[in-house]
Symmetry: C2
Subunit: 498 residues, 2 copies
Amino acid sequence: SRLSTVSAGRLNGKMREKTLTMDTLNPQVKAVEYAVRGPIVIKAGEIEKYLEEGGTKPFSEVIKANIGDAHAMGQQPITFLRQVVALCTFPELMDSPSFPEDAKWRAQRILQGCGGHSLGSYSASPGVECIRKDIAAYIEQRDEGVPSDWENIYLTTGASDGIMTILRLLVSGKDSSRTGVMIPIPQYPLYSAAISEMDAVQVNYYLDEDNCWALDINELYRAYQAAKLHCQPRVICIINPGNPTGQVQSKKCIEEVLHFAYEENLFVMSDEVYQDNVYTPDCQFHSFKKVLYEMGPEYFNSVELASFHSSSKGYMGECGFRGGYMEVINMDPEVKAQLVKLLSVRLCPPLAGQAAMDVIVNPPQSDEHSYKQFHQEKSSVLGALADKAKLTEQILNAVPGIKCNPVQGAMYAFPRIFIPPKAVEEAKALGMQPDMFYCLRLLEETGICVVPGSGFGQKDGTHHFRMTILPSIEKLKVLLGKVRDFHISFLKEYSALE
Amino acid sequence: SRLSTVSAGRLNGKMREKTLTMDTLNPQVKAVEYAVRGPIVIKAGEIEKYLEEGGTKPFSEVIKANIGDAHAMGQQPITFLRQVVALCTFPELMDSPSFPEDAKWRAQRILQGCGGHSLGSYSASPGVECIRKDIAAYIEQRDEGVPSDWENIYLTTGASDGIMTILRLLVSGKDSSRTGVMIPIPQYPLYSAAISEMDAVQVNYYLDEDNCWALDINELYRAYQAAKLHCQPRVICIINPGNPTGQVQSKKCIEEVLHFAYEENLFVMSDEVYQDNVYTPDCQFHSFKKVLYEMGPEYFNSVELASFHSSSKGYMGECGFRGGYMEVINMDPEVKAQLVKLLSVRLCPPLAGQAAMDVIVNPPQSDEHSYKQFHQEKSSVLGALADKAKLTEQILNAVPGIKCNPVQGAMYAFPRIFIPPKAVEEAKALGMQPDMFYCLRLLEETGICVVPGSGFGQKDGTHHFRMTILPSIEKLKVLLGKVRDFHISFLKEYSALE
């Protein structure tokens, strides 16, 4: 490594070293891990290139089930959303008879909120005012009348940006007063990555796999008490519906979390980007904010809560637009001013993403021209996802050595996989997590790219992988069949070695 | 402040305090300042609301000359750029005869590089591959054949995002080994804000106002030596053409900076977002990379250089798309992998911004249908900016007590203003910087919103403001006339007090 830092340049006979090396790199950056786009995905990209260039493998294509990227898996955009964004982008289309009036009306309204009536101007840092108002109205409707103040709404560049921003405010202190951030395990690795980058303390609370990944309040207390010995837990993050775990939390569970946060003086971050992705009829999405409201004013006027949403998930799957928002309640007014200041340094979230978000919260109503097509497209996407959630669970559970909780919501299955001791040993000899070894073998032999459970966190001695349920039903069946065959032969290979 | 942290909530008789208060807020966030959207701009927004609601002032509208937001000031978008982005957004338009073939061809090509051929999919974290290739080709052409490797190109969410990301890699160390970041004074306050947020050390080098804001190499050495006593200077930032100062650096000056960086082992960050904004015939934009190349392979193969560009400035002014890219050369390969990892946590820059960036680097060629209109629109914007740069300088310099260097490039004038001692005293009594006092008075009395020089940094005892040259020529004349009248009466008022 020393050698690699010596550059090719020389002047006056003296060697010039690089300024930025692995030795001088920000150690917090070094500590970041992000499995969803980690080594296995880089490997998948290499194999794709190899196939494109005429190389041969036991398969003809790589299937990327590593990331919730709906359009990349063939899901079609919602026509109405794209019409509105196209109209905003190129307002000359307002004269085109092929665009419906309800789309034009929305585009006109958004543009009226933009400087110079252009999507090319900066918006205010918290977002375009009329879009913030539409979001607040949407939340009030979703939460059956619980009030939402548009000045508590902040547009973001995807949900990740909002999550990072709120964490940035909360992170402070040194040594035992360092901010502890409570996160579920398994978690979406944005959280652990942000915690590493900001040098906060990750405080794990484990979801109960045997109970369909439910959040157990006793486990929260355990984690909190243990953390208090070496840091100051100040925030609890919840992902509901769960990523990577796909569970939908009960109202009772949410109440318990909020009560816990109230008692222990924690800031609550509720990642609700999958709020439209609930598949099983016995489950329902409850927003943290609504539950807080129903707990009474002592709670509703006091617990600091930031809730996150995104254009990337749901039925629209518009990841590339980087749209999102957060609603922040009970934040100290002075801190709010600091939040706005911090947001202003990055100027504003992308306007096309803001426009997309507006359509999501303000879709065609039943008396509007575009309603029928919109409704059809939305139901078709959500219906297919529900079918695929069921199918995935069923097929995986029929494989010996794989056990998968019901995919109640979100876009992922997170099955537990049995890895024979001999395979565990071989992985360890290679300096690899056993499930990374498993997933790499799966990729090399079948072209299927999934993410090892170790990238999300899991109980010691257990192994999992996360796969999306996004491929078309035909492709998903092929994928699941290949996973089954691979798993059976993997078990056979390593059990034979015993 | 203690009082304000006590929330309304009570349970079991115990008071519940807020978790996140000014006392517990991340101190690095507290330290951030960002004048371009600071208190004066918040005040301007309040006055705007007041006028909208029927309030009266000695003026009928607020003119926001605080930020380089071209479209908000009435600049029209480049038609071809918007056509391509609209086609990418709503590919059904490919069948429309009202879109030219050259736009369709580009949109098709961009979509082919997107997952599922949709702008709604995530791109690879460094950006869409074909766009990275187009950018590399553009840079090679701009730099007259100096090689550019597309794998060194990273799309970003505006230039700010790229600048923050590179700084994030470079920031490390404690106490006297803390990273020092050399920045020009006056500077664009993204730099000081990022340095505060990341807890690095800001190392000021002063531009030479008496010499048209030139960068003086002796001043660089002075600043470096002084900083070495308490930190480790590891990076030098240059803004060329200058923001807020509007100067265009000579080739000789760039050579000196690069030689200095070579000798002192500094990482070079060259903010070149105004590369298309050069107005005076005796000035020319020289990219840092090209100059480095011409200095020979000892330099070109060794100095670590990141250069930044944006869709927000130039002749297109597409701020809302949040498009941008950086080219990074000579970065240690292991560090590069860390950079990609860091980028991957935020998933990807907005796809519409990437598409906009592609049009900017791959505009219509002379044999293409859209060339004529594109060329006309581009020349018209740049021609008007050149006129307004000249006009601004001339009118300001005719005012007693204002002295303005030529606006050679970028989008701003940064005139020095004489503030009478009595006004300085009054400002100080109010706990305010004298130029903040001046700008607030200007805003209250004329509706003109400009940013005090103290927000960018300036030599002690000098005062300035930054204004954009973006308003239409008619509005700019009104604005400058008002500034003149205000300044004269301000001088009179406070000189009469002496």
